[in-house]
Amino acid sequence: MATMTSVPETKRTPRVYAVKVQTRRGRKLRDNLTGYAFLIGAIFCFALFSWFPMIRGIVMSFQHTKRGVTSWVGFDNYTRIVQDPSFWTAWKNTFYFTVLALILGYLVPFVVAILLNELRHGKGYLRILVYLPVMLPPASALFLFKYYAYDPSDAGLFNAILKFLHLPTSEWMQSPTMTMPAMVLASTWMNMGGAVLIYLASLQNIPGELYEAAELDGAGIFRRIWNVTIPQTRLILALLAMLQIVATMQVFIEPLILANGAGTQDSATSVAYLIYQHGFFQNDLNGAAALGVIMLLVLAAFSAVYVRLTTKQD
């Protein structure tokens, strides 16, 4: 700036212009720096605990660390993981859990939401009831199911109810065939509240005239659900389906607490539990990383199918 005073008259105009450009650029730079000053904390945390681990997980799955020495081993971790006899059992169990959870945990909230939306009284109370289990720490709720509800003797809550109704009692978690349905039941009870509330909100957005018109055309209740309710909530139905599949494919705490991990005859082992086993008990972090990458690919396939379906329909 000090040089400005000594500038000859004739050259003054372009010089001033140049200075102006520089300050504008300077301000832009300063604005960008301010922006990034506000962003830096979040960027740091994302980099450290999301972006970097994502890459590192993939890198780790091709490496092996022995006594502090890391070397590249190609697909060794993958072949070892796939040859583990629990691998296919875990995938079979996880798919079974996901499908059962789709039948029970996906259908029930929608039906409950449709029902609640028709009620003119006690709605606030019922909404609180449905969402209450979501607020419990899962470990707390699962100990309740493990010790009281799924007690295989006749003193257990569910067996007492079944006996009262003169129905056959069950061994619950001690029976390999009941393990999965019991886990899905507990999981649905704990988690359905969120889906119910989201459906309720989307049901309230359906214009009443559509039902009016359908009724005038002589459509009964079920026809109206099929022809109005479902098409009108299609997007949210598809979205929650995908979210639920991604969540249930990662089922972990249910097998860990209800079935002590593997369950009777390996009937509860899930892929997420296998990752945990390999990584933190068998001292095989690289194998666990490989299993994580396999899980990522499977879930990405689900997302791709979902995106394909939604774009096709529109």
Partner: protein, 290 residues
Amino acid sequence: MSRTLISQAQLRRGRGRFLYWTILTAVIVVFTLVFIGPLYWMVTGALKSGQEIAQTPPTIWPKDPQTQNYTDAWNNLNLAKLMFNTFYYAAGAVVFQLIFDTAAAYALSKLRPMFGNVILGAMLATLMIPAMVLIVPQYVTAIDLPLVHVSLIDSPWALWLPLVANAFNIFLLKRFFDSIPEDLIAAAQVDGASPLRTLWSIILPMSRPILGVVSIFAVTYVWKDFLWPKLVMPSPETRTLSVGIYAFSGGTPMNVVVAASVIAAIPTVIIFLIFQRNIMAGLTTGSLKG
């Protein structure tokens, strides 16, 4: 109220009216049994003696209610310490999420620096990554931070820093800030307010509802989280409630474990009953308009 599946008129007349009240009563009874029933069973079951809980058929109300299991749980599992830890981690999570996530959302919404959209995209992309896939590399990062080679095991930072990396929060906050008129910001700028000052005196006071939602979600998230705290907070002195109860569950009578589970659930239930409106509103706005 606009009409729904079944018209108002149909529910008011004769048979419809009768059916409606029957269904309403049935729904209220069934829902109370299904959702409160297990909680009742949990609270009263833990009041029973070891003998009574094994009795068939089970008693609906404890014959000889005793608080022994609850006091045992409180003392033997050191629940006071676990509760304090969890509360401390939850409070820290709220503070750090509010500071860093609002700052980031403000920058992305109003300051819009170069490549801001790229950063936002990279943040939102993390929503697509299943948490279980990251658990191993995150753990490896936490036990030996890159470059500085410090371990975060048993340090609250191991819980707080990953929680700041919450794309859902940033998305929620950014969308809220986007709805604040640009004129207000411009007026503040004309008055010579710095970006920080604008955030503090204009944006934040207008954003109280959304900040409340983010805070409540942070607290309940920390209270419910299990696997990550189990991995990075392994010592008895640093454990959270859920992890501590799980760690003791093997060698503790089941009634005491359930009593401890009841105590661990009380804070979140209270939070829910107080803030249920905000929680439910936050849940539906967060997912619907996304």
